[in-house]
């Protein structure tokens, strides 16, 4: 049995996608790395003194500064001439990354630090009890974006963070999901083989916050990709270079598994909202070419052929 670098001594909930994701990331990175971690569920459940789940050097400072602390660690390693041997990874939740720590992330990327930043995207501030963040999806029910007579929940779509980081000119930006573990490993390894600032946004379901069964983590993490709601993409030097192609499933299949969307399944008005969410998925499919064009075109022309014959 291989020894994991994120292992015993953590207290994550059953089915926690973030714990799964952290293990994938650090195992792919290997022993020779230093991790800086924002405040959030991952930090709390992995380092309750004196227990630590981390078998690599790891530091938590504050909620919003892992990217800046990592910049300092990187600068120190550069000064010591050790940067060729030791990789630096900064990590944080979606809230710390997209909102309060966004400036620090932007600064780290703009300055070109040789750091991989991993955003564990569970689509809300989970550690403080499921509040809305800039990466909470449209119509999601959180404690600060509750649905009610005058609302369907979160009124904004997710901030397009991967594109924003890519637009900084980062040499490598990718999205990944714990529903595709081999893909996560590949992307982490690829990122760490590239010099400069890298960003991976890793989709990690939260059974407690999303109100889905703990055993469904993997399925939810696959469906989000297969519906087109969380496209798996890679940008190199700001250009889209690779996408995971899908055979799109309707968004209902993904939404219906989760309590955070259950208010959309009650009436006609909810149906209309689901149609809006489908539009978001469709736009992603189009924007990133998630459905193989050739096949699509072939299908289209076959359809047309059929139509003209009949």
């Amino acid at each position: 049995m291989t020894e994991h670098l994120f292992s015993r001594g953590h207290t994550a909930c059953a089915g926690c996608g973030q714990a799964l994701g952290a293990r994938l990331v650090v195992d792919a990175a290997g022993r020779n790395c230093i991790i800086t971690n924002n405040t959030g569920c991952l930090e709390v459940f992995s380092t309750g003194f004196p227990q630590s789940a981390w078998q690599v050097p790891w530091i938590h400072s504050l909620f919003e500064n892992a990217a800046a602390v990592a910049s300092g660690v990187e600068a120190a390693l550069r000064y010591q001439g050790k940067l060729d041997k030791i990789k630096v990874i900064a990590q944080g939740g979606d809230g710390s990354t997209s909102d309060i720590g966004f400036g620090a992330l932007s600064g780290m990327v703009e300055r070109g630090h040789d750091v991989l930043y991993v955003c564990y995207d569970n689509e809300a501030y989970m550690n403080t009890g499921i509040q809305r963040s800039g990466l909470t999806p449209f119509d999601s029910n959180t404690t600060t974006s509750p649905p009610g007579k005058a609302s369907f929940g979160n009124w904004r779509p997710k901030k397009p963070l991967p594109q924003i980081v890519a637009a900084h000119g980062a040499p490598y930006v990718a999205t990944a999901s714990v529903g595709f573990p081999r893909d996560v490993e590949r992307k982490v390894k690829k990122a760490l083989s590239i010099e400069g600032p890298k960003y991976i946004q890793l989709f990690v379901p939260c059974p407690l916050g999303w109100r889905h069964e703990a055993r469904l983590t993997y399925e939810v993490a696959r469906l989000v990709v297969e519906t087109g709601l969380f496209p798996l993409v890679e940008f190199e030097d700001g250009e889209l270079t690779r996408v995971r192609q899908i055979k799109p499933k309707p968004v209902e299949e993904y939404l219906k598994l989760q309590g955070r969307f259950s208010h959309l399944f009650r009436d006609e008005a909810g149906k209309a909202e689901i149609a809006k969410i489908q539009t978001i998925a469709d736009a992603n499919i189009k924007r990133f070419g998630l459905v193989a064009e050739k096949k699509e075109k072939a299908k289209e022309s076959k359809k047309q052929e059929k139509a003209s014959k009949s």
Binding site: R31, N32, C33, I34, T36, N37, E43, V44, T47, G48, F49, P50, S52, W54, Q55, V56, P57, W58, I59, H60, S61, L62, E64, N65, A67, A68, V69, A70, S71, G72, V73, E74, A75, A76, L77, R78, Y79, Q80, I86, G103, A104, S106, G107, E110, R111
Partner: protein
Amino acid sequence: MKEFLEGSRTVARTVRLCRPGVIAAYPITPQTHIVEDLAQMVADGELDSQFINVESEHSAASVVLGAVAAGVRAFSATSSQGLLLMAEVIFNIAGMRLPLVIVNANRAVSAPINIWNDHQDSVTVRDAGILQFYAENNQEVADLVLLAYRVGEDPKISLPALVCMDGYILTHGHEVVDIPEQKQVDKFLPEFQPVVKLDPENPETMGYLGTPEIYMETRYALQETMLEALEVITSASQEFERIFGRALPPFYEAYKLEDAERAIVAMGSVAGTIKEVVDEMRQEGQKVGLLKLITYRPFPADALYEALENVPEIAVLEKAISMGAFGPVYTDLKASFQGKEAAPKISGFVIGLGGRDVSKDSIRRVFEELRGPQTPAKFMDVKTELVTA
């Protein structure tokens, strides 16, 4: 070597001698000359250091935090709003026991926005667990930077330090200063040996979650260490004099205090003006004196008691106030005398906020006020006609 230098340049030259491997800072008046000088030294290859241009002071403090955690000596400088933005990180650096030095160019805090000198910025972070030193002149700033690294990096202490210099008055003022030789500094300040560091060969977890079962002990340990630092500051100041051949009193400087009937306690450059007034009043036959407080955190309560116990009337002159209460040094000094045998009359005066000139005349009036009833927080030189009800 003696040179005629601007205060900021004096700091930069001294910091270079300390060989920091990482420097991170963000522009803010009147601190900026310090880091501009350091950036130029790095650009000219005169200083082997990673100079990180951050996007905020919060990140400046976080970058040096990360650097020290990785085992490298680090430096930052800031002022006013920048220091307040760093405050969250400063508490964290202290709690994690990471030694580093920040120079603060003392400046008023907003609102109203004001770029001139007072001490409100640095006294506001007094509770963090960061050592705090205040300089009267630029020689003292330079000497305190060396002392701060030495004390903070002592493995028994392992704490950050804030060296405070009055904005504009010192940062932009030119003085003749004695910049030491590299050899001397290397002797006083050996290579940084971190107590813990981030290293894959020996993977440590830093910044644990501290539950109620252990949090209190870590805070207690921090307080104990702060008090222990008093001894380390004393021995470091002796070592300083041995190596550099110049005295650097550990906690305070007593000026004509021995037989004083009235004394002012103050921090920073205002001590220079007070000394002049003391000299003048002494010539007039008035027994007045000054205690210039250098070490504000840890607060040298016992030493101050001993120094002041025979002075019947004491004025604490401060460029800061805890709004709704008193001046911070006044409060600490009163506490130091509480329940003790000697019970001098201690009054508090607030002066020179936001760059308001502190004239010799104002100082004289403070000495005169001491003859009257005790005052806890009297604002000096306020133009009452400008304050509408």
